[in-house]
Symmetry: C2
Subunit: 410 residues, 2 copies
């Protein structure tokens, strides 16, 4: 007997027929493995509908109350899936985040899981129940309801899998796995059978539609995560921390595993930054306090005692960012500030790129041949990211997919 | 400073505009009294919508899961009202039944309140918060979500008022008070300024649209209950346990206070029941076990050692009732069983009728003059009920309203 934790996304639960479909899938997983815990998202567009009602009763809905409101969507789904399971003869019980023991801090709207007390879940498993847990939510020490932020039902699933020492975690969604690139941009994109945690983390952080925190959690607790479709019976993609089992001895593995793209990026540059300790902090601390997430940061080497500092933010955060930057840079005597918007990040990702030179050069050459101008470059050990004009995103993804022969991925 | 507990029904919360209207009303109650706890029902027809989805995923939705599902409606309302209050500058916090400390037994769908632990509410009041509590729900000792049965948001309000020793409880709904009769049947029906608990309990149990358990609770804990409209600023009806303040010395008060009507009644008769101890119990115990609520019971005096036993049930319970009755009466050797359906109960209610003869005779005469046949009669100390054909209900209410001069009620 093994324990599987599953997660079903909102599009997989959008109507009563789909809910019954999910129940059948949970039931057959139970037949196969003996113990199943499933977390569910809110039905279809319910979360958006609730947000709309909230905006109609209040210009700025109170974060605590918004979390109470939004948490009801997942509660409805888990009750309905448990009902559907019972109606096909399975023992099942639904649990709210609170009942499932998902403790969080009190950052409403983006709470962090601070601990998991899975006694009730373990008790229900012992009673031969399938356990359906409301995703995306938890409870504070003071017993207030919190949500973990949009898309964080994945996180609930991986956290439960880690706490329950599950054999694996399965994320069911409306796509059938992780692709070498976004198939809507790159028609030749290939589905990956497997991918390592680190590579997936870079892909997720740089545009692939998965919650990066859940990948990180899977990596830390070494929980293999399967991403697959809830609509079809296809194998999906296994995200794991082990060695690649698919490579035959002597085979040369494609070292670029995927291309991530992210649109709606804005770039901010502060010119003539005085090159002394603490200047960067005095800029980025107020941004963090204003809850603005700064991404790529590039600072050139100082030549004349001053340097230019460039970083990117989401386009939607640009106004708030400029307010902070203008104020801080004025105080520091650096009044020359510029920004541009309508940009996108295009990244190639692969652990195999470590210690293997030539990938960056090949990437720049391919973009240049495609007449795509590079606005900015940044790298990690297993990723190279270029900032390009937003309208070039799909072209950039296509030429890179071609250049690194990702269409030959298997 | 005084503490008021309010309750707003679903029709008063059916859309964002109405939710903001409720928030304004709660806010002005807070301005007047200093401390407000408000319980709310689910928005408009949401509970029915959720029941419909449940019936689409399961033929017989599991009662525990149905309660989880239905409880989300009130949770949404209380979060939205708290948000709307905050957006007009009031400190407010929403609490689920669980957070509000409403403990129940585990009879899902019709749980009984077993205790109230209002520490959290008291804490929030101390913090100068208006407290919005999800009505209609509670939590078991095992921390499972329950609902108190349809219409039981009233009960939540009165129970909270009792536990918090509130100065009064205000039920806001889509009618502007308690009437001498159903105004849809009797156009001349008058709104009552006040009514005693006992009279209201009889009216509620015999057809007036209020939860009888909440009246009972108000009576036991002596919590005055105001019933009024959430759409208009009218005085409403005060239900209370004190002496009638409106009667001047020497005035002769109309002793019939109201007429209650209830349709969809069926009548069952077991003929030639052997007149020996235990026979009635052997019939009504299995009915109770089958969860069938038996109402009026009439047994004539025995003449020849056998008697006829007649009782009423809701029409919707008739099939189940006859299954039980046929089985039991066969075992007891009393195979002559009859039933009729399409009946209604019409009652006159008033504490003043106690020890004052002549009300029954006047009632029967009035019905007779109206050519309305009486199928069965039953009385309590402060109520006389006649069973009539369903199609005569409105006529019966009208002639009784006229006969007892209820149109002159003030």
């Amino acid at each position: 007997m093994s324990l599987v934790v599953q997660k079903y996304g909102g599009s997989s639960l959008a109507n009563p027929d789909l809910i019954r479909n999910v129940a059948r899938r949970v039931a057959s997983a139970h037949d196969r493995s003996g113990q199943v815990v499933a977390t569910v998202s809110a039905m279809g567009d319910l979360t958006d509908d609730l947000l709309k009602i909230a905006s109609q009763v209040s210009d700025r809905p109170d974060p605590r109350e918004l979390d109470v409101l939004l948490s009801t969507g997942e509660l409805q789904s888990c009750a309905l899936v448990a009902m559907a399971l019972r109606s096909i003869g399975k023992r099942a019980v639904s649990l709210s985040g609170a009942q499932a023991g998902i403790r969080t801090d009190s950052s409403y709207g983006k709470a962090k899981i601070s601990g998991l007390c899975p006694e009730r879940i373990e008790q229900e498993l012992k009673n031969n129940n399938i356990v359906i847990v409301a995703g995306f939510q938890g409870i504070t020490e003071k017993m207030d309801i919190t949500t973990l932020g949009r898309g964080a039902s994945d996180l609930t699933a991986v956290a439960l899998a880690a706490a329950l020492k599950a054999d694996r975690c399965e994320i069911y969604t409306d796509v059938d796995g992780i692709y070498t690139a976004d198939p809507r941009m790159v028609p030749k994109a290939q589905k990956l059978d497997e991918i390592g945690f680190e590579e997936m983390l870079e892909l997720a952080s740089y545009g692939a539609k998965m919650n990066p925190r859940s990948i990180e959690l899977g990596m830390v607790y070494n929980v293999p995560i399967l991403v697959a479709s809830s609509f079809e019976d296809l194998p999906g993609t296994l995200i794991h921390g082990g060695a690649d089992m698919n490579i035959e001895v002597g085979e040369i593995r494609n070292r670029v595993r995927g291309i991530a793209t992210e649109k709606e990026v804005a770039k901010v540059t502060v010119y003539s930054v005085v090159d002394r300790p603490g200047v960067a902090a005095s800029l980025f601390e107020p941004l963090a306090n204003a809850d603005i997430s700064v991404d790529v940061i590039v600072q050139n080497a100082s030549v004349s005692g001053t340097t230019d500092l460039t970083f990117t933010v989401k386009s939607s955060d640009l106004d708030a960012t400029m307010d902070v930057v203008r104020l801080v840079s004025k105080n520091l005597g650096m009044e020359d500030v510029g920004y541009s918007t309508g940009l996108a990040k295009v990244s190639i990702v692969g652990t195999g790129m470590q210690d293997s030179p030539g990938y960056a050069a090949k990437m720049f050459a391919a973009l240049s041949e495609g007449n795509i101008n590079i606005e900015m470059i940044t790298t990690s050990e297993i990723r190279i990211t270029c900032l390009v004009k937003e309208e070039s995103t799909a072209d950039a993804a296509k030429v890179l997919h071609e250049a690194f022969e990702l269409d030959k991925t298997k």
